[in-house]
């Protein structure tokens, strides 16, 4: 089935086509001319639609106004939060457990003192990943202290520990269910797929409404965001267990439980650790967004600094997040790589040594009364960063000879790209938009993705936010176009030049882990207020993933194909366009898909810098506690994300690494 559906329109018959000889000839012809058929179908439908349905945006009669019921729900929750059994006996306990655990971790970290925490981080890294990473970890924690961010870093770390533990537990259980039962797998897979494309911003409002502003809400929103990769990877690991090993275990008379514990789970260790790694990265990516709902810690410092347009201070709080992310990522990745190698001799001794050293350092810190990071040891980085930003805005904003300033570019981009795109999309009759979405999805993916995409788009209309959604869509499309243009160029360049690739890697790492919020203020300084800065921030954020996937894809092209083309006398250029790019097509499609998902996440946050549309509604809902506006916008963002993902989704499920949080 999939073989016929995915075959490219003008492909000559291959083994899979001839193999399905038993299928009726008409069907095969149908499959072969799929592209042309879709085109013809669309043309007929367009004419029919124009005659029968006319033009215009989504008809009001097909929309449902949810504001009444949503406002009543919101009022009910606020009025019953301190009395209803559901809150007292269930949600209250959930919230309480979160508060108690975060507090326990936080107090432990404070009790260890800065020296103890740094020593512990260094020693754990040393045991797991060797001396080099140990030094990196110590340097990273030292930098957090130097930047004057020790206490916020510990708050964020405490929250992250609890959120990641909960994500791993929840994701692991879901993954276990999906890994062992086919039915659960069928039910869970689309849900997990969907959760992974949702912009985090859309989750916040419902969580806040139930749990109120504060740490519990922040932890739960983070868990919702970080658990899916763990679940997916656990399921994948369990399902991928070597059939031979399983057979052997069964023939030795192992019970189902024994087989799970002694064969399947150990075999899936690599995937499990990768899942933990992904959960950590996603959770850290959420740290700043969660500060909007009271997570405190580093995220809150970033958020507060941005409120007074203090990019330097925002960066000082953003850098520790990046450092934490890099350390945790490298350490868990190293742990994953070591799996399978036999444990080093005297490994227990090493761990004991690490434990004892940490204890000694912590006690020493306590005795010398040096638990908090000394104030004298901080460096003010905000000042130079701010003057650099000021210089940039002063010299680049406008009046640059020949090319014009960034503000002029932004103005031109808005007038000549964003406005026509938005007006064009909004001018299109609603049924034509649905048709286009369906046809595109069918062309790239399968009928299943097409149905989902069309339904998601229709749901936006039903929610009554058709026009703002198309406005957001126009921004996404413009940003994706720019991202792909730059990303493909850079990715190809990086793949063809090892030196450039190596130089780019750390830059991409940092850009990918930098909290999206930090980009917002510099882009306003450069591009003014409006949709252009939102697009610019989205491009900066999505670019690393696109560059990385493109470079990997191009580099991963079969060396034999490259060699043979060279022996046939192809020039470098011919090689690129006729061998490398066509062979890297799956990777390029994946890059498009990832680019779209990441761009949407930031375009939505662009509501904070004048992006308007759905993002503004979501921000408005959060800021005013207005469930009707915020939740409808959130749902529409979800639908838009779903639609964009499905439309760009090649039949092969994309890379499990997920979006780079």
């Amino acid at each position: 089935m999939t073989a016929t559906v995915t075959s490219a329109p003008s492909r000559p018959p291959t083994a899979s086509d001839t193999a399905s000889d038993t299928a009726p000839g008409a069907l095969r012809a149908l499959a072969r001319h799929r592209g042309r058929l879709i085109g013809a179908g669309v043309a007929v439908a367009l004419v029919l639609g124009a005659v029968l349905l006319g033009g215009g945006s989504w008809p009001a009669s097909l929309a449902v106004d949810l504001s009444g019921p949503l406002e009543r729900t919101s009022d009910w929750i606020v009025d019953n939060r301190d009395g209803h059994p559901l809150f007292l006996y269930f949600l209250g306990h959930v919230s309480n457990v979160v508060v108690v655990s975060v507090r326990a971790v936080y107090l432990l970290l404070l009790a260890l003192g800065w020296a103890g925490v740094t020593a512990a981080a260094g020693l754990v890294a040393w045991r797991v990943a060797g001396l080099r990473l140990a030094l990196t970890s110590v340097a990273a924690f030292g930098a957090c202290g130097l930047l004057g961010m020790w206490v916020p870093t510990m708050q964020t770390l405490a929250l992250m520990v609890v959120a990641v533990a909960a994500s791993v537990l929840l994701g692991g259980l879901l993954g276990l269910a999906a890994g062992l039962s086919d039915r659960m797998n069928r039910i869970l897979r689309p849900v997990l797929d969907t959760m992974q494309v949702l912009p985090a911003f859309a989750y916040l409002l419902p969580v806040v409404l139930v749990f109120g502003i504060g740490v519990p809400a922040a932890v739960l929103a983070t868990v919702v965001y970080a658990a899916p990769p763990m679940a997916r990877l656990t399921a994948l690991g369990l399902r991928g267990a070597d059939a031979g090993v399983m057979e052997a275990a069964a023939s030795l008379g192992a019970t189902g439980r024994q087989r799970l514990l002694t064969a399947r789970l150990p075999l899936a260790r690599k995937e499990l650790l990768l899942g933990v790694n992904q959960s950590i990265m996603m959770a850290l990516g959420m740290a700043v967004i969660a500060s909007v709902i009271g997570a405190g810690g580093l995220g809150d410092r970033v958020y507060q600094a941005l409120a007074s347009v203090d990019v330097g201070a925002a960066l000082a709080a953003g850098v520790p997040i990046v450092l934490l992310a890099i350390v945790l990522d490298r350490v868990t990745a190293a742990a994953g790589e070591r799996i399978g190698t036999p444990p080093a001799p005297r490994s227990r001794l090493g761990w004991t040594l690490a434990l004892v050293t940490t204890a000694v350092v912590a006690v020493a810190g306590r005795l010398t009364d040096r638990l908090t990071w000394p104030d004298a040891w901080t460096v003010d980085t905000a000042e130079p960063v701010n003057s650099a930003v000021d210089w940039m805005t002063a010299h680049l904003y406008s009046g640059v000879p020949l090319v014009g300033g960034t503000a002029d570019w932004a103005g031109r981009f808005t007038t000549w790209v964003l406005n026509p795109l938005r007006d064009g999309l909004q001018w299109l009759p609603w049924w034509a938009v649905l048709l286009t979405v369906g046809a595109l999805a069918l062309f790239i993916g399968t009928w299943r993705t097409a149905v989902t995409a069309v339904l998601a788009m229709a749901a936006i209309g039903v929610l009554g936010v058709w026009d703002p959604a198309l406005d957001t869509l126009s921004q996404v499309l413009a940003a994706v176009a720019v991202t792909l243009l730059l990303g493909f160029a850079l990715g190809i360049a990086a793949a063809r030049s090892t030196r450039l690739g190596r130089a780019l890697r750390p830059v991409l790492d940092v850009f990918q882990t930098m909290p999206q919020f930090v980009y917002l203020i510099p882009v306003v300084a450069l591009f003014g207020v409006g949709r252009a800065p939102a697009v610019a921030a989205a491009v900066v954020y999505a670019l690393p993933a696109v560059v990385r996937i493109t470079a990997q894809g191009v580099r991963g092209v079969d060396p034999a194909a490259m060699e043979s083309s060279r022996s046939l006398g192809a020039t470098g250029r011919q090689q690129l366009f006729q061998v490398q790019l066509p062979l890297a097509r799956p990777a390029l499609l994946l890059a498009v898909n990832q680019g779209v998902v990441l761009v949407l996440a930031v375009v939505v946050i662009g509501g904070l810098v004048g992006g308007g549309a759905l993002g503004y509604d979501a921000v408005f809902g959060l800021a005013q506690g207005d469930l009707a506006t915020g939740l409808v916008a959130g749902a529409a963002i979800v639908c838009l994300g779903l639609m964009l993902d499905r439309v760009t989704q090649p039949t092969q499920r994309r890379d499990l690494a997920g979006k780079g949080a």
């Binding site: 740490v215 789970l265 009271g294 958020y303 904003y397 406008s398 808005t414 800065p533 810098v609 800021a623």
Partner: protein
Amino acid sequence: MAHTRIALGGSALVTAAALAAGLTGCGAADMTRQSSPYADAKGSRTVTLSVQSWVGAQANVAVAQYLLEHELGYRVDTVQIDEVPAWDALSQGRVDAILEDWGHPEQEKRYIDDKGTIRRGGDLGVTGHIGWFVPTYFAERHPDVTDWKNLNKYAEEFRTAESGGKGQLLDGSPSYVTNDKALVDNLDLDYQVVFAGSEAAQITQIKQFAKEKKPFLSYWYKPQWLFEKVPMTEVKLPAYQEGCDADPEKVACAYPHTPLQKFLNARFADRGGDAAAFLKKFRWTTDMQNDVALMIADQKLSPQEAAGRWVKENEATWRTWLPS
């Protein structure tokens, strides 16, 4: 080997669950009475203050925090929350006090009158006013722009890429009180409201306009430190009368002058001891707030440094706030 490890993990899990249940108790858990996990660390008394996103509010909090920490021996946590959610957080005790509120009648009725979870904390001493402003350099060249009736004449000059064919009225954060969309409609103005989305974005944009001496029309409010950097003149809207803004759809008058208010969580007000007494007495002036705000936003001092400087020079004022 693997088996024992997993079994260990399982038992650890059970222990953790039991521990959690033990810690949280088996009865009812009212989450409206849970404080922040970061509060009261190391046996200190902690006060949690809500900071809104604008710098004036940061100035209030910075000075209150400085005095609470240095004079009364408290530890202060600050959380940045938008105006309306802050009321909810205050009623739940997630924060202990809001020091500057611009008037939220609906929330006042719900939380103070009906539920009794929030107590009034008195005047802040600062009077707030929202309005439409043009830069003074533009108002001097075109004095008649300060009357709303002439705004349409200048719509062309206020045009930007974002506002399309109309003039741009720059609005700020979605969390702020605004009637601007209704005002533009009801006064028949040829303007488009463009939401900057956050105050930070709005300030950045205003500064960029000012640097090039470009004209702009913006929603803005007093007291605000930016006036010291970019002098602005208010555009006169039809005069405010009591109740003229009752129906949000039909507003066609200026914004009122609002004496800014403090609010305390009810339990904190009763049992907050010195901290609650101090916050109730905290009362300063528009100029004082502006001094501190300017140090934070313009000289880029950290809020604590700014507060420290102000406290050093104004002892006579803050002495009276301390509980006797």
